[in-house]
């Protein structure tokens, strides 16, 4: 059977400055990051013949043809999975370059989460939230914090997961952000500050919720054979998969509230990669909320269902812990760039250019996306071929 395992590589990465406040448009932020990624790959913009645009419709493939001057775009698509879109796009891009549909696929994202419309206004426009829009928003359950909170509450009631364990995640992400000069958060976070931060939607306090920020990020995916001769040390996509949870349009009806689409994607990604969770040197795990990171650790198989809270205790996710996680500071403390900042950071780690947050000898890493009402995506990357 044909496989895309290790047939594609991330050959270019690019980021803008991450800010709170910008006068740039989402398209301009995406183009700036795209150009950086294309240049990083040692390519010229006209080499790009595939693009996977973010699914909210703010930018379209035509924008990239027009601005980058692409002479012959051969592939365009979207992967409409909210925050899981970027990692799901790695799967689509890998399939496309592995089969020769295109040679170099650009995956750009950008957002003005701080300067633009607030989250409640944005989710009301997302087609994947249509069912929620009809049946739950009229009652006041509108924002992700409110819609996700019952998942966390049930996990806490069933397994004894605590807000102090959430704090452990938030504080670790903050420690990592302090090593990153492109991170929004610049002061340490104490457990007291977490525990006294204002309640948003119980059990989520302010510091359990990700930042709203402005910025753009992009990657280029190319065929593995082509990557060998390109500008950067090779970073190969060993395995990648997307997973949609049961009852994908509404969390309320999900048979098991404590399982995400990640639980379906993870076994496929690990099998394709031919590795196990024990082989992962560094992880970049989508952290829109502290609980969502904990839940994914379980769905990924780093620990059993219900053990995620205990797993994060004792600094296990810290740089010197057993599973260094979100070495850039994550959505919680670096910036919310739809998780493309997670993909970029993993590539940096595997190239060995992680700077003060570099995990020594990082060889195999994992990145996840999580989005909309429980979608998951998982990619496992390795240094070299």
């Amino acid at each position: 059977m044909a496989t895309i395992a290790s047939k594609a590589a991330v050959t270019g990465i690019g980021e803008t400055a991450y800010t709170r406040g910008t006068d740039k448009s989402i398209l301009a932020l995406q183009l700036e990051a795209s150009l950086a990624a294309i240049t990083d790959a040692g390519l010229h913009p006209t080499d790009i013949d595939g693009v996977i645009v973010y699914s909210n419709g703010v930018t379209v493939a035509e924008d990239f043809i027009t601005n980058l001057g692409l002479p012959d775009l051969r592939f365009s698509a979207t992967t409409p999975m909210g925050g899981a879109s970027c990692v799901a796009a790695l799967q689509a891009a890998a399939a496309v370059v592995a089969t020769g549909v295109a040679n170099h696929v650009l995956i750009p994202v950008g957002r003005t989460g701080y300067s633009g419309e607030r989250i409640a206004a944005r989710v009301q426009q997302v087609p994947q939230f249509r069912t929620i829009g009809e049946f739950e928003m009229p009652m006041g359950a509108i924002a992700p914090a409110q819609l996700y909170a019952p998942m966390a509450r049930r996990h806490m009631e069933l397994y004894g997961t605590t807000s102090l364990q959430f704090a452990e995640v938030a504080m670790t992400m903050r420690q990592h952000a302090l090593r990153n000069d492109n991170a929004l958060m610049t002061e340490p976070l104490t457990v007291e500050a977490h525990q006294t931060s204002r309640m948003i939607a119980d059990p989520f306090r302010l510091y359990d919720c990700c930042l709203e920020s402005d910025g753009g990020a992009a990657v280029v995916v190319s065929r593995t054979e082509a990557a060998r001769d390109m500008a950067q040390p090779q970073v190969t996509i060993m395995g990648v998969a997307e997973g949609h949870p049961d009852s994908p349009s509404t969390i309320t009806q999900r048979p098991d509230l404590t399982q995400l689409g990640t639980a379906k994607a993870a076994p496929r990604a690990f099998e394709m990669a031919g590795v196990t969770p024990a082989d992962i040197d560094v992880a970049e795990i989508y952290d829109c909320f502290t609980y969502i990171l904990i839940c994914q650790l379980e769905d990924l198989g780093f620990c059993a269902k219900g053990e995620g809270g205990a797993f994060v205790e004792g600094g296990r996710l810290a740089l010197d812990g057993a599973l260094p996680t979100n070495t850039h500071g994550g959505l919680l403390s670096q910036a919310h760039i739809l998780g493309m900042n997670h993909v970029v950071e993993l590539v940096r780690q595997l190239r060995g250019i992680g700077g003060p947050a570099q995990v020594p000898d990082a060889e195999i890493g994992l990145v996840t996306g999580y989005g909309d009402l429980g979608d998951g995506a998982v990619a496992i990357l390795r240094r070299g071929a």
Binding site: M137, P138, M139, Q253, L257
Partner: protein, 134 residues
Amino acid sequence: MTEIEPVLPTPTREAQPYWDSLREGVLRLQRCADCGQVRHYPRPMCPACHSMADDWVEAAGTGTVHSWTVSHHAFHPAFKRDLPQTFVTVDLAEGVRLLAPLRGDAGRIAIGSAVQIEIEALDDDWSIPVVRLA
């Protein structure tokens, strides 16, 4: 003082009977006319047998708490007056769930707590289910 408009649903064709029933003060659920499986939220096709024939059954109006959250931030001006607002994920007696705001005392809410469903008007045309601890 200016009146803040409520957030109102835009019903899909399949769900119109659900909203019509609520306006009459009754919680009705969509049921497959072929295999009898109740489904919620309303949709065109039965995922069990793929029949597109349905009928509507009146719910008993009882259930238990599956999970909940207490919202301290409104995210829309229409809900500011209700804060803090508890939302309950309810296991209905019919085997499906719904999410609804809690009315009355949250007391010692816990997974499995018995609840009663009531119907509350948003305005002259729209009503929603709400939950009260039994």
